[in-house]
Symmetry: C2
């Protein structure tokens, strides 16, 4: 089990891969911020980090954030404000981990997500973390090897009854959080 | 149980509600088309209908579709083509139901989704449909009463451990399909 309030999500724009597997830095997609913030808020997570190495892209993310957290933005759509309240913009995954350590008193266990099948992944109900956790979501073609290397745990890829594995990162995040923290009546 | 290959999704822009509950027609969000098409493709659904009463908005959806289904678009990103292949643009929910009846030989059972709690909703594992099904997703503030009235089944709202229930329609669709058709290793 994971405690949602000490679990965090990082949306990683570097180091990630392109569709051919080459290392790249991906561009910010503004709708990712809203969708993933809403999902992390729904499932009661501790926070959401947007990881981008380029200052201009971080400034863009902060500008969106500042708008929706301002009195004017909140008056227009308070649900956006509530969702974006826990979003932080950082240059690297290590910076996200440090921010969590400062808050929780312990470094988070890093948990990778991937669309590709590989050995050594773990099922959603089998995740056991005592302490804070940081779930990494790769944009573009997914997390690069150097990001995966820092993750002691990797979650099973999300699978349906087909071999198509190209969900958007927004959809994949929603499903991962629902599998880990969703409340079902049946 | 539902058979994914005879289950369809309709993204409804009318009749829906605004955030204050008033009946509106919402505008198309182009990213919805890609995200929901990818999700329906991942889970092996029979098809995806975009429902909009305005011809100009249907033309916009078809233009996006034509681009990604063209040889030029497919060469740029074949995963988009594969996902969008089963997308159809129709004016009304009834048109989507008729198209399914033409293909499947029977009218689909309409299944509503809603973020608001209400009595009479059903859990995801309890859904039993013998024949085709059409899952309605409301944009804006959700399906209007006249759309809900046509649905013999309504799914439980998606819940996490908080009372925040403002997922994006893209995220909600992904979670609904994963709860109904997801394959889990554990």
């Amino acid at each position: 089990m994971l405690d949602p309030s000490s679990t965090f999500v990082a949306l990683v724009h570097h180091p990630v891969r392109d569709r051919q597997g080459r290392p790249i830095t991906s561009a910010l997609t503004t709708l990712d911020l809203h969708d993933i913030a809403r999902s992390t808020r729904t499932y009661g997570l501790g926070g959401f980090f947007v990881v981008h190495p380029a200052e201009a892209q971080r400034a863009l993310a902060r500008r969106i954030l500042d708008h929706w957290l301002s009195p004017e933005g909140a008056a227009k759509n308070d649900h956006r404000r509530q969702a974006l309240e826990t979003l932080e913009v950082v240059p690297t995954i290590a910076d996200a981990a440090r921010a969590i350590q400062d808050r929780e008193g312990r470094a988070p266990l890093q948990i990778a997500t991937a669309a590709r099948k590989s050995s050594g992944t773990i099922g959603y109900r089998a995740v056991q973390v005592d302490g804070p956790a940081l779930i990494l979501l790769g944009t573009g073609g997914g997390l690069a090897d150097e990001a995966l290397a820092g993750c002691p745990l990797r979650l099973d890829p999300i699978e349906g009854p087909t071999d198509y594995n190209h969900l958007s990162v927004r959809s994949a995040c929603a499903i991962v959080l629902d599998r880990l923290f969703g409340v079902r009546q049946d």
